[in-house]
């Protein structure tokens, strides 16, 4: 099947004019268009330094691998299976989607779709149910990326007859034998993933890239909030921004803080309060700026400031 992978990059080869043995790296880079994806990654994802570095490295390797293949320097298809570990809301799913489009642009996955599943979609209810179920998902993910969220639920150490083990075995087999057909990305919280890999050493060794997603710093969370607001056509007033800086500091030390996801929820609640505030005064004539801006009062009304829970 590696043959059809070659044919998907064939149009690029047809336009090749430089003599064999010489490669214009910049042209190659532009032709593939990963520059745009990487720039977009830098622009739209705040922070995540180690993640971005790793993705750049992978992208560079794949670019070189592509050129090597063209020059006839064959080598094994690089293993691209990855594991993303990190706390809730650190952008694992978002990055998985980006990875799929990078791999697709480089021609390492043929279609570039992402099939996102959890234990429920892979593991069956009764004997003989699991294998067809897992295989069906694998077939759907062929040519793209299979993203398994909270992968550690596949393995239930307390129940040795759990069907999860069967799913794991099928996954491992396909991950090994059809490396050029699909890329598997496992995601989950750091400590539990470590335990999962500990009890399934086969998984650990078949995954080449273990990427850890760090928590966001306060200023990064603020940038994320502003980016999200910008996307929704809102903005902070100066006082609201100052209040939100305080909000982040307070929210972070409370339980159940889940990084960017908590920020998004907080923003949604602030939009509610803003709408309520505007509707309270029906006789007022609103300007576009009124509707777009969040005031300090919208932020300060949060229960975080009154020492309660924000959720």
């Amino acid at each position: 099947m590696s043959v059809s992978a070659v044919s998907s990059v064939a149009p690029l080869q047809a336009g090749e004019t430089s003599p064999a043995g010489q490669v214009d790296l910049r042209r190659e880079f532009n032709e593939v268009g990963i520059g745009d994806v990487l720039d977009q990654l830098d622009r739209e994802l705040i922070g995540l330094k180690p993640v971005k570095t790793r993705i750049r490295e992978i992208a560079s390797l794949l670019l070189i691998e592509r050129i090597r293949k063209r020059m006839g320097l064959t080598s094994e298809v690089p293993t691209l299976h990855m594991s993303f570990t990190g706390n809730p809301g650190t952008g694992k799913t978002t990055v998985a989607l980006r990875i799929a489009s990078i791999l697709h642009k480089l021609g390492f996955v043929r279609r570039g779709q992402v099939v996102s599943v959890t234990r429920d979609e892979l593991v069956g209810q009764y004997i003989g149910h699991t294998a067809p179920k897992t295989k069906e998902i694998l077939k759907k993910a062929m040519g793209g990326v299979l993203f398994i969220d909270e992968a550690y639920y596949l393995h239930r150490p307390d129940n040795e007859r759990d069907y999860g083990q069967e799913a794991i075995e099928i996954l491992l087999q396909v991950m090994e034998s059809q490396r050029e057909d699909l890329v598997v990305i496992l995601a989950g919280y750091g400590d539990r993933m470590d335990k999962f890999f500990g009890s399934n050493p086969g998984f650990r060794s078949r995954i080449a890239h273990h990427i850890d997603f760090p928590d966001y710093a306060d200023d990064e969370l603020l940038s994320i909030a502003e980016l999200m607001l910008g996307d929704m056509n809102y903005r902070f007033s100066a006082e609201a921004r100052a209040a939100f800086v305080r909000y982040i500091a307070l929210r972070k030390i409370q339980p159940l803080f889940s990084n960017a996801r908590s920020i998004r929820n907080a923003l949604d609640r602030m939009r509610l309060r803003q709408a309520n505030r505007l509707v309270a005064d029906l006789d007022r004539v609103l300007t576009a700026s009124d509707i777009m801006s969040l005031d300090a009062s919208d932020v300060l009304a949060s229960r975080v400031f009154s020492n309660g829970s924000a959720e």
């Binding site: 099947m1 295989k135 040519g143 059809q178 057909d181």
Partner: protein
């Protein structure tokens, strides 16, 4: 005698690469591909057995090829065909069907003449293979 049913049957057998390309064409059209097998090659036998369910929502031929490999492992001595179903009219209709696996030795068909009233003759075709019981027709296990 070589059985000719479905698309491409007058061409040399398709290679896996060619099968994969045809399957990809079907998937690109949004059709669901199904694998079926039989050891009764009579042209009027339309009920081939299904290998699993038709494969819906696939994007890449690799998934279908994986199933074909599995099916060949079990029923490599029989006829295997792929059918592509199009559901866009509101019902499933076969758009394309082609044989992807055939027995090594195909004994072919005999013509039987049946003399009936007057000097009339009725004709029927019978597969030599079908003389043997199901499952062992092509030297099965």
């Amino acid at each position: 005698m070589r059985v000719t049913q479905g698309c491409f049957s007058f061409l040399p057998d398709l290679t896996d690469q060619q099968i994969s390309a045809q399957v990809q064409y079907c998937l690109g059209k949004g059709w669901a591909v199904n694998i079926e097998f039989t050891d009764d090659p009579h042209p009027r036998n339309t009920f081939w057995e299904m290998w699993g369910l038709p494969m819906f929502d696939l994007r890449d031929a690799a998934g279908v090829m994986m199933e074909l490999t599995e099916c060949r492992k079990v029923y490599g001595d029989r006829y295997i065909r792929m059918s592509a179903f199009d559901s866009s009219p509101g019902w499933e209709s076969v758009r394309m069907s082609f044989i992807v696996n055939r027995p090594k030795d195909e004994p072919g068909f005999r013509l039987e003449r049946h003399e009936v009233e007057g000097r009339n003759i009725r004709y029927t075709t019978k597969s030599y293979a079908a003389d043997r019981p199901e499952g062992v027709r092509y030297g099965g296990k």
